[in-house]
């Protein structure tokens, strides 16, 4: 395995962690105004992700940093090329991040409602934009021979990319609803299960539409043939099984299956990209690959040593934090946040 491939895998792992973890906290953020009828219920819903969302977001910050360090060419083209999309993403993340902290500080209903909708919008935009961005990275965007993106924001918007964005968002809402069903009890848990049932059908349908469109819009078909391989098939099976587990009230299994869908789908996307990182729609030879965007070997070696040393500890203590807050929430205690 070359260093470039190894770092491609590391960045894939960071995105997998990001989508799995922030996937449910985006989902919870989107559901807050709908599942929480009273202020207290909404606070409980927010508290299901209260201790975790910030550390989950670090997966994304780290993915960005790792991209910068390992593939500066990819980072530079993606962030300057998808400029307005990134700008919207930043506005969403800024609003969302402060809303979690600000909402409960003032008791006025208008204040709380306002921040609840900021949480909603700030949780809705990122998966939508990421779905659009990933679909474009697979489909191909106008990249010239100097590795520059020469399109506009509107070039990123197509039927294919919007289906990608919407299916990712629905998948995250489903993931979030199941997370709520794991972390609450009573009426909130019932509502979360009902939401998961309702959203689940749509999420499944849109995801399969996206897969079909991927055959038409990307080179998956020419690269792989009809049988996409074991990973995407398992992703599809996992998604189908979710409905069954919800009906059986096996929340843990249902959540595990949406998580598995997200993980395997992300692996599929990265496998289909490999060894490219951004496909050029102008000329396949101008695509960005792990080889023409990577840092020098010395830099990658240094980063490898650091990553292999630090990541196990990160996984350990972040896992431990979930263990600390393993008990379900209920409303018979005063709420701080």
């Amino acid at each position: 395995m070359t260093l470039e491939s190894f770092w491609f895998a590391i960045i894939a792992v960071l995105f997998i962690g990001f989508f799995f973890l922030e996937g449910f906290d985006y989902g919870v953020g989107i559901l807050v105004p709908f599942l929480g009828k009273t202020d207290k219920e909404r606070r409980l819903l927010i508290n299901t992700i209260g201790p975790f969302w910030d550390a989950n977001e670090v997966w994304f910050i780290t993915a960005g940093g790792a991209m910068f360090a390992a593939f500066p060419g990819w980072y530079a083209t993606l962030f300057s090329g998808f400029y307005m999309a990134l700008f919207l993403l930043l506005v969403a993340l800024i609003g969302r991040g402060v809303a979690f902290e600000f909402r409960s500080k003032v008791e006025h209903p208008v204040w709380r409602t306002f921040w609840d909708w900021v949480i909603f919008g700030g949780s809705l935009l990122p998966p939508l934009l990421w779905g659009i961005a990933l679909a474009n990275m697979m489909h191909g965007v106008p990249i010239d021979q100097n590795k520059n993106y020469v399109g506009s924001f509107w070039d990123l918007i197509s039927l294919y990319s919007v289906v990608g964005g919407v299916s990712m968002t629905l998948l995250f809402i489903l993931h979030g609803a199941l997370f709520i069903s794991l972390r609450t009890s009573g009426v909130l848990q019932e509502r979360a299960r009902a939401a998961a049932t309702a959203i689940g059908a749509w999420a499944t349908a849109l995801t399969f539409l996206f897969v079909v469109l991927s055959y038409l819009e990307t080179d998956m078909f020419t690269r792989r043939g009809i049988d996409p391989g074991v990973v995407p098939v398992l992703a599809g099976l996992a998604l189908f099984s979710v409905q069954f587990f919800i009906r059986a009230k096996r929340d843990g299994w249902a959540f595990f299956m949406t998580g598995l869908t997200i993980v395997l789908s992300t692996i599929t996307v990265f496998m289909d990209l490999f060894p490219r990182v951004m496909v050029s729609s102008l000329n396949p030879a101008w695509s960005l690959t792990i080889y023409n965007t990577a840092s020098n070997p010395y830099s990658l070696k240094v980063m490898t040593i650091v990553a292999l040393t630090v990541v196990p500890f990160v996984l350990l203590y972040q896992g431990w934090s979930y263990w600390v807050f393993r008990k379900r929430l209920s409303s018979d205690h005063p709420l701080e946040y």
Partner: protein
């Protein structure tokens, strides 16, 4: 329409200065909170827990804004400065990635545990969490300054195919620039946190509210402030001396020294600077002092702007290598003046405490409420001097700022994001101050309640 470079620079300036209103408060406060909670665990005195929780609220409001503005900082390089990112990514990206891995995960995970874990963890585990957050904030400062030190004074790289490649990670970590910058920034952050605590405590002590909480808060903070504000000047002096080696042009600009000085060199306290005519009028000078500051001795001349400009033209080709002299001159002086005031103010407070008159006089307390602004002025001026003083370079001696911008981003796009971010940041600042003022007015809470509900049934996953 201004140029893309000008707009991208304004965006970087505004967002960086703004981000750095919050960062030093985070670093400074987290150490004070960790000290207070440690006292609570050791002395088993509930007052210290009240203190830690009260300052914790202010810390969290501030931390939220610091985090979200930090995300923008990381992505700005790629968005507005794509050619810069391509040019130095091999070197510059690594410290940023390491910052995320080592610092951000630590900070965010253990802060979540600390916020929601008051009744979930043992006291020792809980106080350990806040210390880990403190270590996280410090590691974060270290790694981002490793990256900044490279921009100021590139080391450990080789130029290949038109971009910089890392050749020695050790050289990056032992960059002398880093070891002057990091202690200076870190100590400045301790001063900032301490002055926020002293200012708010003074406000409450003037109103004679919660004296049992705010007297010890003031005392702890003033001890941290006096030590850190003294050391920050010592380190800053050494940092300025190193400029003679690394960036003599920045030093000359910070002294508005157009022509190479005589020996001994006088230090200019005040001057009207005519940058176009390359001269100053109305100068007030202190003899010998510039030689003392530069060399720690009573003689020695310091190279002037015009001579350095000629040297740089000979080395890098025709061009203007002089930064904005009046801005550098005055930002340096305002920073030094604010720093000296902070040392005197905190020394006076400690002196009163040592003489066992715990509540200092009312007039002093009134001044201390206003003195809360001093560290913010000093921090801002310090970064303006550091970053504008390296112009026209984005990487000193390697890449000009105008060559670092994104080739495919239009000035209109940068202007759009600049306007939106500035308005958004203005709004956040207003909300942040409003909420902190509310927390201050509410004061500490005496009843001890948990901050997260739970039922007794553990989840069966």
């Amino acid at each position: 329409m201004p140029s893309e470079v000008a707009l991208a620079r304004w965006q970087f300036g505004i967002t960086t200065v703004y981000h750095f209103f919050f960062v030093p408060v985070t670093i400074g406060l987290v150490y004070l909170i960790a000290i207070m909670e440690t006292l609570y665990v050791v002395k088993k005195d509930d007052r210290y827990k009240q203190m830690a929780q009260f300052w914790g609220k202010i810390f969290l409001i501030n931390f939220a804004v610091g985090v979200v503005t930090g995300i923008l900082q990381e992505f700005q390089f790629g968005m507005n400065w794509a050619n810069y990112s391509r040019f130095v990514g091999d070197v510059f990206g690594a410290p940023l990635a390491i910052e995320s891995l080592l610092a951000f995960f630590l900070e965010s995970t253990f802060l979540g545990v600390w916020m929601f874990g008051w009744d979930k963890l043992s006291k020792r585990m809980h106080v350990a969490s806040i210390w880990l957050v403190a270590i996280g904030t410090t590691l974060s400062a270290f790694w981002i300054l490793t990256a900044n030190a490279f921009m100021q004074h590139p080391v450990g790289y080789t130029l290949k195919d038109g971009h910089a490649e890392m050749s020695s990670f050790g050289a990056l970590l032992t960059n002398p620039q880093l070891w002057y910058e990091f202690p200076h920034v870190f100590l400045g952050a301790l001063v900032t946190g301490a002055f926020v605590v002293m200012g708010i405590s003074a406000y409450q002590l003037l109103r004679k509210r919660h004296i049992e909480v705010f007297e010890p808060s003031f005392a702890i903070a003033s001890i941290v402030a006096v030590a850190a504000s003294f050391l920050v000047m010592v380190v800053g002096h050494e940092q300025a001396q190193y400029l003679l080696v690394s960036q003599p042009m920045k030093l000359a600009a910070s002294e508005a020294l157009w022509k190479t000085s005589g020996s001994p060199a006088p230090w200019t306290l005040f001057a009207i600077i005519h940058a176009g005519a390359h001269k100053n009028t109305w100068m007030i000078q202190i003899p010998y002092l510039l030689s003392v500051l530069s060399y720690n001795r009573l003689y020695g001349s310091v190279p002037g702007i015009l001579e350095l400009q000629q040297q740089m033209q000979a080395r890098y080709g025709a061009g203007n290598y002089v930064p904005d002299v009046p801005v550098i001159f005055w930002s340096f002086r305002i920073m030094v003046f604010a720093g000296a005031l902070m040392f005197l103010a905190s020394a006076w407070g400690v002196w009163r405490i040592i003489r066992n008159r715990l509540v200092p006089g009312r007039r002093y307390l009134k001044w201390m409420v206003w003195a809360t602004s001093l560290p913010f002025i000093a921090n801002t001026m310090g970064w303006i001097m550091t970053e504008m003083g390296r112009q026209p370079w984005v990487v000193y001696g390697l890449q000009l700022t105008r060559d670092g911008v994104s080739p495919t981003v239009s000035a209109g796009e940068v202007l759009t994001t600049l306007i939106v971010f500035t308005l958004l940041y203005g709004l956040l600042a207003a909300v942040d101050l409003y909420l902190i003022a509310r927390v201050v007015r509410q004061g500490p809470v005496e009843d001890d309640h948990g901050d997260e509900p739970e039922s007794l049934s553990p989840v069966a996953l």
